[in-house]
């Protein structure tokens, strides 16, 4: 792909376009393509840069420690506290993709549908006191066509029909699964010995050429990196150029929105943003869609205070920013006799969903999926990859690095997080970002059942490692979450304007021409791989918004 920004339609600030979309990521990219294809004029304001494949690098230090593709804490500090009673301290509290293409540019590309139960679990199992555990206003059946659309329009590799726990699907995956790695072989053998049902991991990575794009070269740099081959099916090589090709969509990078404007009738009129030079602009629009992720979407609403909405835009429920869910991850490692060379190829090739719903007889709510993978790059491995019983410096440590970098794998559990009202995104009282706006304050403490679920998955992971014949195995400790990379639930979807922020069309209950569509719309957390659901929601929202616009109901 050429590094030159493709020619595209340019709109004037004073042209009231049909839609301004805030965020060119997982959902914003989809909405931009769908709405521009449906004939609407669209401007997408993206706070991050417009990088191309030639800008990507395998430099671990620059990607992971210098935020090449993500929010940079030096420009956009975050603060963290466990409960609303605590004083928040300045430190990295969450990460998100900050560029055209968004989080899926650097994601691991695990691409799981939610199951039927994820949408109706509270109704089926009962609500949980002290939580906001609730059913979605839509069901799996409502979203199924859009899961299929996401898989086929973006390009997903996998094998349908092999997991007995898979939800019904109208079409198989468009591409066969990726070749199995040693971690997948060992996991498959170990899990089957224990009577479980491992199956090929569905991933948004091309196992074969697809729609003019090259297949994966197995270089091994997925999580945290942009794909130089364009084989990772993020919006960057798919939705974005397709939106541009309509001639009706302009992607405007380095555009940091600070406020959504309202008129005297309480309708959104556009978005005020800082451009690259720091100059403030107002892009006018007939409707505004915020797709800025589960942390920036509520933050922008909270920043958009007005006389009509003194507590933040579209916040009559008081729930904007509340019910943040991170998912938890459990982690266990194993060392093996022969080289696995897990640093090659994609991260995950086998997963299992046998504990998608943990039996309530264990005494807690929860569930999740388990995968096998290599979790690190060289520097990270030297920090975190060896069992704690081994020396952490000196000649013996060096020998361990030498021996085990190629001979280790990890079993990772991805689990539910219950929605808790105290867990939230809010505006910090004192800390400001580089543009002078209040910094994002994160309040988060896992529900006890989330930690029990995490421990349960860890125990199962250790049993699987035992069954693989690992020479040595160890579990990383269960800890309360203090850092989020899945940002979910902060403007939840629902029928009742008192208990939710958007309706099932993603329209805010308070402002008729303001829509929110990203991880913030989630009602429950799912089992740790939210991207496909974020994108399926965006495909569905595009259809809903198109229908409303055509009926003159926006």
């Amino acid at each position: 792909m050429s590094g030159v920004t493709p020619p595209q339609r340019h709109y004037k600030l004073t042209d009231a376009v049909d839609f301004v979309i805030i965020g060119a990521g997982a959902s914003g990219g989809v909405l931009a393509r769908e709405l521009s294809r449906n004939g609407f004029s669209v401007v997408v304001l993206e706070q991050g840069p417009w990088l191309t494949t030639k800008d990507f690098t395998h430099d671990e230090y620059m990607n992971w420690n210098h935020a090449l593709l993500t929010n940079d804490y030096r420009k956009q500090p975050t603060t963290f506290r466990k409960t609303p009673k605590d004083k928040a301290k300045k430190r990295p509290a969450l990460v998100y993709g900050r560029m055209v293409g968004g989080g899926p540019v650097h994601f691991t590309a695990n691409y799981w549908r939610f199951h039927e139960i994820d949408f109706i679990e509270a109704g089926k199992k009962g609500t949980i006191a002290g939580t906001g555990f609730a059913d979605w206003p839509i069901t799996y059946a409502d979203l199924e066509p859009y899961y299929t659309k996401a898989e086929w329009d973006l390009g997903v590799s996998g094998q349908a029909g092999v997991s007995p726990f898979d939800p019904p699907r109208s079409k198989p995956y468009p591409l066969p699964p990726m070749p199995i790695k040693s971690s997948g072989v060992l996991f498959e053998q170990g899990a089957r010995k224990l009577g479980y049902h491992p199956f090929p991991a569905p991933v948004a990575i091309l196992s074969q050429s697809y729609q003019g794009r090259m297949p994966c070269a197995h270089c091994g740099f997925c999580m945290g990196f942009g794909c130089e081959m364009g084989a990772k099916s993020s919006p960057l090589p798919t939705m974005i150029p397709q939106a541009i090709a309509t001639g009706r969509c302009e992607i405007r990078p380095n555009s940091y929105v600070r406020k959504i404007e309202l008129d005297t009738h309480g309708r959104a009129t556009g978005a005020i943003y800082f451009d690259k030079s720091g100059k403030e602009n107002l892009q006018r629009a007939r409707a505004v869609i915020v797709a800025a992720n589960g942390s920036e979407t509520p933050r922008l609403l909270l920043l958009s205070k007005s006389n009509r909405f003194p507590d933040g835009l579209a916040n009559s429920s008081g729930l904007v920013g509340k019910y943040l869910m991170f998912n938890t991850d459990s982690l266990a490692g194993g060392l093996f006799e022969h080289p696995l060379n897990e640093y090659k190829s994609i991260e995950v090739t086998r997963i299992m969903h046998d504990f998608y719903e943990i039996d309530p007889k264990h005494g807690f709510y929860g569930g999740g999926g388990i995968d096998a993978r290599f979790l690190w790059y060289p520097i990270q491995f030297s920090f975190n990859g060896l069992p704690p019983r081994l020396p952490q410096w000196g000649s013996e440590y060096k020998k361990a690095l030498q021996k085990y970098f190629t001979r280790s794998m990890y079993v990772v559990g991805h689990t539910t997080s219950l929605p808790l009202e105290d867990n939230s995104i809010s505006l910090d009282d004192t800390v400001k970002d580089a543009w002078g706006l209040p910094a994002m304050r994160v309040t988060y403490k896992d529900h006890p059942d989330d930690l029990k679920t995490n421990q349960f998955m860890r125990d199962r992971s250790m049993e699987i490692l035992e069954a693989t014949g690992a020479q040595d195995k160890w579990a990383y400790p269960v800890q309360e979450s203090t850092f989020g990379f899945h940002l979910l639930g902060t403007c939840r979807m629902g029928k009742d304007p008192k208990t939710s922020v958007v309706n099932s069309d993603h329209r805010t209950h308070d402002v008729p021409n303001l829509f929110l569509c990203d991880g913030s719309s989630f009602v429950t957390s799912g089992r740790g791989q939210p991207t496909e659901t974020i994108q399926a929601l965006a495909f569905r929202a595009s259809d809903r918004i198109t229908a409303l616009a055509k009926q003159n109901q926006i």
Binding site: L51, D55, H218, W393
Partner: protein
């Protein structure tokens, strides 16, 4: 997830004053210049430092050589860890300078405690150095040890374009190749995979 630990080690103390300085500073063009500088610095025969004092450089050299000693295989010294660290601290990691100065101060204080009268970490015997390192590693706030160890490991295993991992000695040691293209099988177990039997 646990990469949080890595991030915190390097970013947790990021200074408030940097603010606007960082806006737009990490463009690919600037990165390319930084890499070129690092390579030139790494190849330079004369050891001049932009952040370290000569004493700090000597102490960090001795410290990093205990973390990753030169034995039958190359260690921190062969990877050019000191030059890498000096480079990043004087360019892209200026926000870590204060913490690094504090770390050297903690190290020096422990040297004075463990070996009364000693002038520097570099000047004491290897056995004494190990004693000092174990002491600061065991401190309640092990930030000094973590930071010095962290920069050592990073300089050993980073992209050589940043000036460390010279001649890829770190990557060669652990068996990491940096090719852009591989074909299956990747490892022993997938090479011996028999789907029907597993």
């Amino acid at each position: 997830m646990d990469t949080d630990q890595t991030r915190r080690m390097f970013l947790g103390q990021a200074g408030a004053s940097l603010g606007l300085l960082w806006l737009g500073s990490l463009t690919p063009d600037l990165l390319a210049q930084a890499h070129a500088y690092a390579q030139a610095a790494g190849q330079s025969a004369t050891k001049t430092y932009r952040f370290f004092t000569p004493q700090q450089a000597a102490d960090f050299d001795a410290f990093s050589a205990q973390i990753l000693p030169t034995d039958e295989t190359p260690g921190a010294r062969e990877a050019n860890v000191v030059h890498f660290t000096d480079y990043v601290l004087s360019t892209i990691d200026r926000d870590q300078q204060a913490d690094m100065r504090d770390a050297f101060k903690s190290l020096q204080e422990q040297v004075a405690k463990t070996v009364p009268g000693a002038t520097s970490f570099a000047a004491i015997t290897p056995a004494q150095q190990i004693e000092v390192m174990k002491a600061i590693e065991a401190m309640q706030d092990a930030g000094a040890f973590g930071l010095l160890r962290g920069f050592t490991l990073t300089g050993f295993l980073c992209d050589p374009a940043l000036g460390g991992n010279k001649d890829k000695v770190g990557w060669k040691l652990i068996g990491f190749q940096d090719d852009f293209y591989y074909k299956p099988p990747f490892g022993y177990y997938d090479a011996h995979y028999d789907e029907g039997k597993s």
